[in-house]
Symmetry: C3
Subunit: 153 residues, 3 copies
């Protein structure tokens, strides 16, 4: 059982995977914060918890630019962080060079934090685009190592 | 190979992860059911499979409240169940107390079934909100254990 | 460490999981390609990177049928490929028959490539629906094996 956790690369992977998955998870409360402060809800029952006036109910079920921005950021995290963890796990098992593996994990995690700041603050492009592509290339480099390792070893 | 599956905590994890991932997967057919019964499709080719009248095609590509509710429930499942499985796997490898680990898995799985019922039935808040937060805290507690275990042991 | 990668079934799983997760990841660039060629952006800062005329900014933040189709395809991939990898991993650990396991992995991967072609090309139904259901049943068959294996062995 403990054998995976005794491996240096796997321990690094576990740490960075837990950190970046927690960051993905926290996009839920971030979106909820925007919904509550901007009073923009998706469901009538949510609006009803914030106002008992019937005329408010219809008005509070609406979209808001800040909420939609947080949702898009959350969705991009889902689309990129989940594949990173799935492929990073397999990559950790192929016996990569520890320093090289650590570089992959750190570059990916940094790129996603930069991506979130660029998205939520609406920083000018190409800040968000570049941070997205860096994360994408990091994961694809690991996926290539996995396929190469399985096919040729 | 069999070493992971011989571990008590990992076996519990595997069972609950398989159950809750199947539940996530079944939200697809649930949404499809609402699309078919409410006749609200996303693609012209889907509408074409249900009616050959040209004037129907435009009308059948539409949104419907029940369909959108099922989709939001599915999306919330994706955002929460996938991180649970990713982090729960790493947590299982850190050698947690079996009873404590089992409590985490069971509380999470229960919270997500309650969440789905609360969402699809539009139960009054805070039923859905609380079940979401309980699941979130369960996963974050496991993520904390993973990082703590890697950094301090 | 190497013990998982020395297992025949796990090696097959690693290969197919890396391939299909890379395919999921590539839906990001596919959507970006449609956004750039159709000039349909989600964020004002993205539109600003493509035109400096103020009157263009509002017009370029819009939806486009091809972009929305690529996004739905990406979303369906997320909803189906991620559960496949999660459950496929647990399934690989239950000691399945190698030929039977390989069949599951190959059928799933094929079904998703067909699904993507059917979606992006808007092929007549039931091509897309069938490829989705085949993938779904493959993953559920593996989930059943996992639960059965944990409960009865």
């Amino acid at each position: 059982m403990a054998s995976l956790m005794e491996d240096e690369v796997f321990r690094s992977f576990a740490k960075y995977a837990a950190i970046i998955t927690t960051k993905l998870l926290l996009m839920g409360p971030v979106t909820a914060y925007y919904r509550l402060t901007r009073k923009a809800f998706q469901n009538p029952e949510d609006a009803a918890a914030h106002s008992s006036k019937p005329e408010d109910l219809k008005q509070l079920v609406r979209t808001n630019d800040d909420v939609e921005r947080a949702r898009r950021c959350h969705q991009n995290d889902l689309e990129n962080i989940v594949p990173f963890v799935l492929i990073g796990f397999l990559y950790s098992l192929t016996g990569p060079d520890p320093a090289w593996a650590l570089l992959h994990f750190r570059v990916f995690v940094c790129s996603r934090f930069i991506h979130t700041v660029a998205y939520l603050r609406a920083l000018p492009q190409p800040s968000r685009g570049l941070s997205w592509i860096v994360g994408l290339l990091t994961t694809m480099s690991m996926a290539h190592s996995v396929v190469h390792s399985v096919v040729f070893h």
